[in-house]
Symmetry: C2
Subunit: 285 residues, 2 copies
């Protein structure tokens, strides 16, 4: 049981976790915190949190679990603000989608990474954002990756794992760097490609016409280009190195495919497409 959960950043991610834990009956009190009181009042009205405080330092007082789900660019400031105010037994975790950057921000905000801080990342979300879009089932059967450091308290890891499992998620642990590489491949690169493609088409002179002839496949393909631009800017800045490595790798694959088209190499094209279809059908169903 969590006696007092403090959620810093009450949007889709934070709001949905609060709803899920309340629905699971594993939390006694939920305190919300963001900069805007009217936003927090809305979260109270929706029954997502019990009460709120716009000051992170007072919001975390007496909380035994703190969930930081603010944009990547705001992590450092939040940890600097709450560092001295945390209860001795408080376990802190976050939802940042680039773990090396969060760990670095925590380290520079506090001088060192607290052993009861468990870096985490729920692989879930929609193109919506804000507390109004939050729902208790968001994490059902979704993956959550925890990236504890060598010094991280194992009891703190167990508490965070239990929290996510109570929300319906499946929890895995891996190293910080490996997380960042996996996410660059499966999430960051696809988003960047979708954004770039839509931007590319929008700049073509026949833009309105172009989009009129876009079929279902294009809609699916570019849905993620409707995601929050600020969040994606932050991710690109926070996980730049791993993303650039993936872009480079992908560039080579596209160049080799373009080369096959140029040489009218049907066998090579077929092999690439068959390999991709087999992989997708096998792994994603």
């Amino acid at each position: 049981m969590i006696e007092r959960l403090c959620v810093i950043g009450v949007g889709l991610i934070g709001g949905s976790l609060a709803r899920a834990l309340r629905a699971a009956g594993v939390v006694r009190e939920i305190v919300g915190c963001t900069r805007h009181a009217e936003h927090l009042q809305r979260a109270v009205d929706l029954g997502v949190i019990d009460r709120f405080d716009t000051d992170p330092a007072t919001a975390v007082e007496g909380a035994d679990l703190v969930f930081v789900s603010v944009p990547l660019g705001a992590m450092g400031a939040i940890f600097a603000a709450i560092g001295d105010a945390l209860a001795d037994n408080a376990v802190v975790t976050d939802a940042g989608s680039a773990k090396a950057a969060v760990v670095a921000d925590v380290r520079s905000a506090l001088g060192s990474v607290p052993d009861r801080f468990v870096p985490g990342h729920p692989i879930a979300g929609t193109e919506q954002s804000g507390v109004e879009a939050s729902f208790a089932e968001l994490y059902q059967d979704r993956r959550v990756i925890l990236t504890p450091l060598p010094d991280t308290d194992r009891d703190a890891v167990a508490r965070v794992r239990a929290l996510w499992e109570a929300a319906g998620a499946r929890v895995n642990e891996m190293g910080v760097e490996h997380h960042d590489e996996v996410l660059a491949a499966t999430s960051h690169l696809p988003h960047i490609l979708a954004f770039a493609l839509v931007e590319s088409l929008a700049r073509m002179s026949e833009q309105r016409e172009i989009f009129e002839y876009a079929a279902g496949g294009f809609r699916d393909f570019t849905r993620i280009a409707s995601s929050d631009p600020v969040m994606w800017r932050d991710i690109c800045l926070a996980n730049g190195e791993a993303i650039l490595t993936m872009i480079e790798r992908f560039d080579q694959d596209i160049a080799s495919l373009a080369d096959a088209i140029r040489r009218h190499d049907g066998d090579r094209l077929l092999a690439i497409f068959q390999g991709a279809k087999a992989a997708r059908d096998a792994f994603l169903g």
Copy 2:
């Protein structure tokens, strides 16, 4: 009213048009043709066609409308086979997704492009294929592009337009080259990116693990990588020039985005992502 419709290639595209026209009550008899009798018998059993003939030349006898929906690589052979067998009043149209290649194949098969041949392309489909996947509503509110040549008989164009409208589609006309550019941008490039991304990830050593952490966005983004590899090989070969132009343009956009990441240029990244989101939200809803 169509007295006798001959559908050459009775799969998702041909089967769905047959079903739609029958449901609309605008066709008296439907003759199907592919190479495999058992496949055609299945189409008869499903009520998609009335009878069949595995020989294209005899299948088109007496037909006043012929719909050729075979893979791009098979177009030339079909037109060579039916050229002399077509009734004088027969209007012929096709469903090839690259129009310059189809027109060139028809020209080399017959010596010239018949003035009652109306090149066409329904912008519709699913990742499924085969007559079992066909359904009457496939073309409802979908776009169909017709690319008549300067010499194409206007009455033939009107008949083909009426046929598609009876199937529920919205019909536009444009030039052959423009069609191929628009489709390279909205369909061919996205498919190639999706295939290349999945193939790229599948070759990474942690492939199984990688796909396990793929979230909903990745599934949407790569759904089109489950499309028919043979069809996409044919499209790449048939529309290679326009596709290579789009790949080149896209390469530059990705390079500029990678450059912004490398320079930690958050403003530039935000502008790109905001532009893409605005375009997608405005045009695709």
